[in-house]
Structure formats: C-alpha cells, structure tokens
C-alpha cells in the first residue's frame, strides 16, 4: 500500500514537471501573445495541479494536506481571472491577434524575438 502511494506520487510529480516544461517550451516557441497565453494556461491548471497532488500524496499529515488543497483551489480560481484580465487589456489596446489570414504574410517569422 505504501509502495503504491509512493509510486503514484512520483508519477504525479513527473507528469506535472513534464507539463510545466511543455508550458515553458510553449512560451518560447509559440508565435504571438495570445497563443502563448494558452501555454501558460497549461502550466497553471494541470501542471500546478499534478505537482500539488503529488505533494499531497507524499505526506499524509493533517493540516499540510489542507494547505496544499487551499493552494490548489486558489491557483485554479486565480489563473482564469488573471489571464482574462490580461487578454482583455491586450485586445482593448489594439494588439491584433495572429490568425490564419495574416499568417501567410510572414506573421510567424516577424514575431521571432
């Protein structure tokens, strides 16, 4: 039983790290601001969630579990609000999103830093 919990904890931590790394790669690779926002969404929802669940499986001891759960719930409530506010501010200030229409005119290349 102990072994199963340990293995699943390690698996959760590994998967969460992989998702966070994917988000990090995505924030470097994707072509414009709005698509990068989706990459950050991956790290904020399932990446953070899996790492926190992995930590929860590490240490079954009272208040620590509940605090981890609190951090998880807070992350899940905060992240959509922050990214919505950011996207709305960007759209209102005329940052035009990349779309298929102008991707053909070399939009992908020009956005490289």
């Amino acid at each position: 039983m102990e072994l199963i919990v340990d293995i699943s904890s390690a698996l959760c931590l590994l998967l969460g790290s992989f998702l966070c790394l994917s988000g990090g790669v995505g924030i470097m690779r994707l072509p414009d601001f709005y698509t990068r926002m989706h990459a950050v969404g991956v790290t904020d929802t399932l990446g953070a969630g899996l790492i926190l669940i992995g930590l929860m499986l590490q240490n079954p001891e009272g208040l620590v579990e509940i605090k981890l759960l609190l951090i998880l719930v807070m992350t899940l409530f905060i992240s959509p609000v922050a990214s919505h506010a950011l996207a709305k501010a960007a759209l209102r200030n005329h940052l035009v999103p990349l779309s298929d229409r102008n991707e053909n005119n070399g939009g992908t290349e020009s956005s490289k830093p």
Partner: protein, 97 residues
C-alpha cells in the same frame, strides 16, 4: 523525485525570465511575470518538502495572493498611453505592411 521536480520548475522559471526580457510586447512581459509568480508558489511548496519544513506552505499561500493582486494592479493602469500597442513598432507581431 522532489529534486527532479524542483529542477524542472527552475528550468521553466529560466524560460519565463528569457521571455520576460526578450518579449516583443509589453503583454508578453506581464504574462511572463505572471507565470514566474505561479511557478514561484510551486517552487516554495516543493522546497518546503525537500527541506522537510512544511511551514513554507504559508509563505506560498501569501505569495499566490500577492502575485494575483500585483497582476490585477498593473492591469489597472492599462488605459494609460504606455500600454497602447503601436502596430508600427519594430516588434510588430501581426500587422502586415
């Protein structure tokens, strides 16, 4: 496994900092700072477990709240002229000539 996850988070934070420094528009920078903040929360929790001191979780909770408030606070100024995205900048991401 905890150490591996910590290292992965550190790598992600470095990628976020690179995007924050190079990021073509202001919004990329704010996005990178936001991601850096949430990754810091995860890093603090992981470090608490690595060092065997789960008291760090209180700091992580406070950091999550401060991070959210700072992002919303910055975006409150988004009506000012600094935030206006000029499509004719050198970093023009989307506009065709």
């Amino acid at each position: 496994m905890l150490i591996a996850a910590t290292i992965a988070i550190l790598v992600v934070m470095i990628l976020g900092i690179i995007r924050g420094i190079t990021g073509p528009t202001l919004y990329d920078r704010i996005l990178a700072v936001n991601m850096f903040g949430t990754k810091t929360v995860l890093l603090i929790s992981l470090l608490g477990f690595v060092m065997g001191r789960p008291d760090f979780l209180d700091i992580a909770i406070v950091y999550a709240l401060i991070n959210f408030i700072s992002i919303i606070g910055v975006l409150h100024f988004s009506d000012s002229a600094v935030f206006r995205h000029d499509p004719h900048d050198s970093e023009s991401t989307t506009k065709e000539s």
